[in-house]
Symmetry: C2
Subunit: 366 residues, 2 copies
């Protein structure tokens, strides 16, 4: 391929889309045309990308013509409908939604951890994991490579922006309603003050935490908890990995945090875990409690890596580590990982070996 | 004992003291004199208890004369100094601090779980567990009695009032500084806005979570994480119970939440766990995700029990349960449990069998 590949950003006007346009503008420019696509009601808006005001076009078959790589940053039902159309038109689709993550014919890729998976994509679609999985995988994948992962117990502290712009607006409104008051000390007083301003949540988030994210599934699990288990198994190639998770939303705008108890096949030490984490791509080790060095969402937001601290060997299990990590759910957790996948595809398309690559005209043959 | 026992509330002017005076005023009145004691700078203040304005006296040897039960709701260093003095003067001390929790000669009591431990108190002192342990024990103790506890992995979502009144004031100030802004989306923007208003915390709490509470101990553990392990082992009589914990402070005023992964010796079912939790004292089962019924701090604050929801059997371990629970850290977590212990002691003093009780004149003989 002599010309640079053409990129479509589908969902350019959303919260993740906004971060994606920043990333495309800031990273090394590997793209030819960059087409911004969104729902018809956003068509005609102009957004800045690579220093140029660019008009948003409505999602349609025509909008997907001549595209080499299509980044889908839209709800799962939109991806389910339109990603196969883009793939049929010859684009490699990088989808950030849940639509294809469980599809055995769609690789689920974190470039630092399983880049090899990218090359086998029979449907012409590559999926990016859920933001919560992505917060964890760079660190846990690196530790797995050394120690052999056996079991995970995960508790989340999830930011509201993972639930969309309405969720952020709801928390902002709630913060204004409770700030300057003495609320938060009597049963239901925050709920009464917040009234109908719940946004997409079942309970207030200001001065509260809510132990739910996702849809209700069998056994009382949430779809997101089950997703962490399925995605971690798929990415790490561990189909019978034991995973338990409890997902909790907290009043943070952006950046997910996770407390992780990870049991391995071999004995661990904090020193070796520190060495691994300090030298792994997409991970920053920040771990000195004496100096109050541990990651918090307010310090991590807007940065690319997963920040890891509170690394301890379990007191009663020499094969287990306890740790706490934070990652910006709109960057590595969504836009950045998808951008990295797209850039890897672009590099493959530009490579002299690309005649042998699986990108075009081979749907179903791999 | 014909007269009702005399009660001293030491630390009456603190946050837990305020809740204690409510409880003493609302519960069945088992007390004769109620003496309010605090630091010399609070002496002379008047506080309402049992409908009467009562003058606060300064902590001194004299203030502890003639007291049958002394409730200590003060920092550990104050308890360490004064509780033995009160005991030497004949009072049974109920201490809510960490000073004596690890002392083998001091029982650590949750009346619903290990009431028998109360009767053996060679030092004349009974300790109440830390608020985080107390949030968990009524539910986990009940499940242990049925299934036999083998291992706990706990993540906390701790309210700021557990760190005292300065902590609450700091979060209130921080909330006012960030409400109505667009903060929380750039690295350090919340930290800059909060400035010096951190209170006792190492990082902002508004629009943030902070993975630390307690002092730094060996291996990177916090004193509170180690305390959960030691206290749970002592209360349940399981000296080699495996416990891992990661403690995280969240922007909630009052009510601690915990995500708990509990492994048992025998196979569990959600149905049986529900039956146990629904019929256990000091526990409310609130668990129907379809109806958005799960406990949150804003709904639980101001109530006495531990509220439990999100009860699930681990998908990859038939002997493990995952659950989420909330309890008011100033009520069951501090004042209420201490009050319950004190009332049990009062009942013992009033009982016809009390000549055989170990309360008075027997220090060191048990």
């Amino acid at each position: 391929m002599i010309r640079k590949p053409a990129l479509a950003v589908v969902g350019a006007t959303g919260a993740v889309g906004a971060v994606m346009l920043q990333i495309v503008s800031q990273h090394e420019d590997v793209w030819g045309d960059v087409r911004l696509v969104a729902s018809p009601r956003s068509a005609g808006r102009k957004l800045a990308v690579r220093g140029e005001e660019t008009e948003v076009v409505a999602l349609s078959e025509e909008a997907l013509e001549g595209i080499d790589v299509a980044l889908f940053l839209v709800p799962a039902e939109v991806s389910a409908q339109w990603a196969p159309i883009a793939a049929a038109k010859g684009a490699v689709v990088v989808d950030s939604s849940a639509a294809f993550r469980a599809d055995a014919e769609v690789p689920l890729v974190v470039p630092e951890i399983n880049p090899h998976a990218l090359r086998v994509r029979p449907r012409g679609i590559v999926a990016s994991p859920h933001d919560t999985t992505l917060a964890m995988i760079p660190a846990i994948g690196a530790l797995h490579a050394e120690f052999g992962l056996d079991e995970l117990v995960v508790s989340s502290y999830q930011a509201v922006s993972g639930a969309g712009r309405d969720a952020v607006a709801a928390l902002r409104t709630q913060m204004s309603l409770v700030a300057g008051t003495e609320l938060g000390t009597g049963p239901g007083d925050v709920r009464r003050a917040v009234g109908d301003e719940l946004g997409p949540f079942a309970a207030p988030l200001a001065l509260n935490v809510v132990p739910w994210s996702g849809t209700v599934e069998d056994g009382g699990w949430s779809s997101e908890e089950l997703g962490l288990r399925a995605e971690t198994r798929k990415i790490l190639g561990l189909p019978s990995l034991r995973v338990s998770a409890t997902f909790v939303r907290v009043p943070v705008i952006t950046t997910h945090s996770l407390a992780v108890h990870a049991r391995f096949e071999s004995e661990v030490t904090v020193e070796r875990a520190h060495d691994i984490l300090a030298t792994s791509p997409a991970v920053v080790l920040y771990d000195d409690p004496e100096a109050a060095d541990f990651p918090t969402p307010a310090d991590v937001v807007g940065t690319d890596p997963t920040w890891v601290g509170r690394v301890r060997r379990a007191m009663d299990d020499p094969c287990a580590l306890d740790l706490f990590l934070c990652a910006d759910n709109l960057r590595k957790g969504a836009a950045l990982n998808s951008a990295q996948i797209a850039e890897a595809v672009a590099a493959e398309l530009a490579s002299p070996a690309s005649p042998g690559n699986p990108v075009r005209g081979r749907s179903g043959s791999l």
